[in-house]
């Protein structure tokens, strides 16, 4: 692994007294797709939210160890600046109750861009990158809430791209979508990985197999604390896992 984009070292996270994640050390490579898999409740979504400090919003959360982006401690970066660099797509599409144009322009606007011509450019480019432009180019004034679920999710991806992040976190982005919309999102992820570091949480192992270059397998121990069991190239994880528990999981013996 030559270029590490994100890294955690002995990272633990607590909700109050409850330890949700324990001693996680991982190096996530740059401009690749990394999937986080594991049974539900294993802390993979919580772990994902650590990279853009969304866990800060939950009262009573504290952490140990370090999280680095480009070698820099993220807890020393302003969280707002961090989130401009680390975009996020949520499990359920969450468009603002605004027009498609305003949804995409939201990020550039809050980060200081006022020039309308520039905004139009960015909106078009972001929608093209998210493979949504052809479907909505004549209806940019339409409310984002009027799109179908799959379109909404691609709009949310476009919205994240418009801020020019270098990392995109995706929390089960296709969980609420039908198979065709899911396939479109997966193609999109594949294309985006040329320019972005993508970390994706997924329930669906086939999906991990299809989109991810690397895969990390999480599991809870007897006290329901999430741990990283194994991290490797996706094909190794799926064909030749080192840990017995990984093998059990991917062959469907539990989870």
């Amino acid at each position: 692994m030559k270029d590490t984009k994100l890294e955690t070292i002995n990272y633990s996270l607590y909700y109050g007294k409850f330890r949700a994640l324990k001693d996680i050390s991982i190096k996530i490579p740059k401009n690749k797709v990394t999937a986080l898999i594991g049974p539900s409740g294993c802390g993979k979504s919580t772990f994902l939210r650590s990279f853009n400090r969304m866990n800060d919003l939950i009262p009573g959360v504290h952490t140990e160890g370090s999280v680095l982006i480009d070698g820099e401690d993220i807890f020393k970066v302003d969280p707002v600046a961090l989130r401009q660099n680390v975009g996020m797509v949520f499990q359920k599409p969450n468009p603002f109750p605004k027009s498609i144009f305003e949804n995409i322009a939201y990020g550039p606007r809050v980060t200081g861009l006022k020039d309308h011509h520039k905004l139009e450019e960015i909106v078009e480019r972001s929608l093209r990158s998210a493979a949504l432009w052809d479907e909505v180019k004549d209806n940019l004034g339409k409310s984002g809430l009027d799109l179908s679920g799959g379109q909404q999710q691609r709009m949310c991806i476009a919205r994240a791209l418009a801020v020019e992040p270098t990392v995109i976190l995706m929390d089960e982005p296709a969980a609420s979508l039908d198979p065709i919309a899911t396939l479109k999102i997966e193609d999109l992820i594949h294309e985006l990985s040329a320019n972005y570091t993508i970390v994706i949480v997924t329930h669906n192992m086939q999906q991990a197999g299809r989109v991810a270059d690397f895969t990390a397998f999480f599991l809870t121990d007897e006290s329901r604390t999430g741990q990283l069991v194994e991290f490797n190239e996706t094909k190794t994880i799926f064909t030749n896992p080192r840990d017995r528990r990984t093998e059990d999981y991917i062959t469907g013996r539990f989870g």
């Binding site: 009262p59 707002v80 989130r83 975009g87 109750p97 939201y106 809050v110 949310c156």
Partner: protein, 300 residues
């Protein structure tokens, strides 16, 4: 049919009757106030009452335009002072204050709502009026629109603040997270996403505050001066408008009803009809806004 079955039926009709009482009361309020005012409307004429600027029962002049102007002016003043404070307070409680601070501020707002209006009136008479009297403008008695607006602003603050806070809290959490995840600051999230999304509820809160302001009586009588004149600036400076004495629709009724007879009494009921109509329109529009909001939420 057994005894307890019959009892069951009887109780049902008794309960039904009590449910109907509210309807009867609303109708009765409209009916009685209107009935008592008919004499004034027919004898004096609708235009004479609504647009007459002179209220002088001694010479049978019963124009209530001055009181309409008084009520609207003091409501306007109260909104001007009270709405920013109330909305600020709502934003503070819903989005900014840590839990420990909320636990102090929220009960304080509740207690503000519970303090009797005469206590506010008394406070205004003893503290505000002497302070305002210090403003050196000829004809300034201290009693007037300014004192009344300040008192009223405090009285409508809890109404607006609590409804607006609820509206802000009702904005779905995923809007908040969506905005923050795009690198917006907390304040940008509040002004660009949360407030627009909670707009209807906030506006409804302000409108209900207006309704409360139009209906307030005793505190107004105590600090507004009660002269039945069109409020106007006391000097060439237009701001002295707020030093003018005035009388509200509510005050007009309360001050005179206990000794009025005949056409005078009827004219006071006509004042009540106008007030009642205003309040119904104001409250209905608030309700309409809340309902359209609910409709939109369902559509999502």
């Amino acid at each position: 049919m057994s005894g307890r079955m019959i009892a069951d039926k009887v109780v049902k009709y008794i309960l039904f009757a009590s449910a109907i009482i509210s309807i009867i009361i609303v109708l009765a309020i409209g009916f009685f106030i209107f009935r008592e005012s008919i004499e004034a409307w027919t004898e004096l004429g609708i235009g004479e009452i609504l647009f007459g600027t002179v209220w002088r029962p001694g010479i049978d002049q019963y124009g209530i335009l001055a009181m309409i102007a008084g009520s609207l002016s003091v409501t306007f003043g109260a909104i001007l002072l009270g709405v920013p404070l109330a909305l600020g307070c709502a934003i503070f409680l819903a989005e900014i204050a840590p839990a420990g601070v909320q636990a102090v501020v929220r009960p304080a707002v509740q207690l503000l709502a519970g303090i009797p209006s005469v206590v506010y009136g008394l406070f205004g008479m003893v503290i505000l009026v002497p302070l305002i009297r210090n403003i050196n403008v000829p004809g300034n008695s201290g009693y007037g629109l300014l004192a009344a607006s300040i008192v009223l602003a405090v009285m409508i603050l809890p109404t607006i603040a609590s409804i607006a806070e609820d509206a802000i809290r009702a904005v779905p959490e995923n809007y908040r997270h969506g905005s923050l995840a795009l690198g917006a600051t907390k304040w940008q999230t509040i002004t660009r996403v949360i407030l627009p999304a909670g707009k209807s509820g906030i506006i409804a809160g302000v409108i209900l505050g207006v309704g409360r302001a139009l209906g307030e009586t005793m505190a107004m009588i105590m600090v507004i001066g009660n002269s039945a004149i069109m409020p106007r600036p006391l000097s060439s400076n237009p701001l002295t408008f707020f030093l003018s004495q005035a009388r509200t629709l509510t005050g007009n009724i309360a001050v005179e009803i206990n000794y009025a007879t005949g056409i005078h009494e009827s004219a006071l009921f006509a004042t009540g009809v106008v007030l009642f109509g205003l309040i119904i329109v104001v409250n209905a529009s608030a309700r309409w806004i809340i309902r359209t909001q609910k409709y939109v939420e369902k559509a999502n």
